[in-house]
Amino acid sequence: MRLLTYIILGIMLALPVNAHEMVPAYPEMRPAHVDGLLVTTMKMFNKRADVEFYEVGVFDENFQPVPFVTAYNVFKLEYLGHTTFDIYIRAQDRNRAMYICSRSKIRKGSATSTAISSKICSKIIK
């Protein structure tokens, strides 16, 4: 039975997968070069062949949006592409901002299927 489990696990690990990845898991906001703003740098890696666009957002503990600025809220990230981007928030929102999330954007498909929207949320260190 255990052997069978390992065989199934091995087969599943060997199958092609599509992954969405964002680091760091626990970003720290630091003072930006502009007074009154804080900044942190995030990195993303797109291993989802079915996804080309991602959206980023900053949220409070109840996942209500917190104002932020970045180069592009929705950006294109090619398959197997890496990107690094800065997130700026107001210093007054330091205690309110809790999560930085990235979400995959699904294109309208032509098949009768389900699709997976992946979302990864990093927690800002206080």
Binding site: L9, A25, T112, A115, I116, S117, S118
Partner: protein, 174 residues
Amino acid sequence: MFNKTIKSMTILGIVAMASGNIFALNAAEVPITGTVESRCIIQTDNAGTFGNPNAYTLTTTPAEGGDPAVVRFDVTLADAYYAEITPPTAFSSSPSLPDTVSWTGDVQVKTVSDATGMGTYETDKVEFGNTDRYDLTATGSTWFQIDATATMGGNKAFPGGSYTAVAEAVCVAK
């Protein structure tokens, strides 16, 4: 005699320097650097497909021609993340529908990479609304199966065309 010694030492020095250069060339290194950070990776193993067992039902149930979605969470830091998974509750794209659609969905742990550390994920999950939250207390991989069934109101037929419904898989740092 003295000149011969000087000459020998010079040749020896040249040979030694040349050898040094050769060794230096052999020892040339190309550093490949990287950092390991704690992370959560969401992998879509199978996006899923709807079967159409009768005119008014679309389902991912294998026995009825469907294929459930499978998503895998890899975590490299124990007790640092929640997995929150929501089956679809609407079509993101479809033809014009003649009636309202009712949805049922289910999420369950399909396979784990560490049966000891992850064996209680399914029993310990918390359901709120349509979303199931799993506390990822161990490092490794967990596969979740997402089932969904859409039933057209009044047993009316689904019009011909393409249908897509989106399930959401979220990894939240604790």
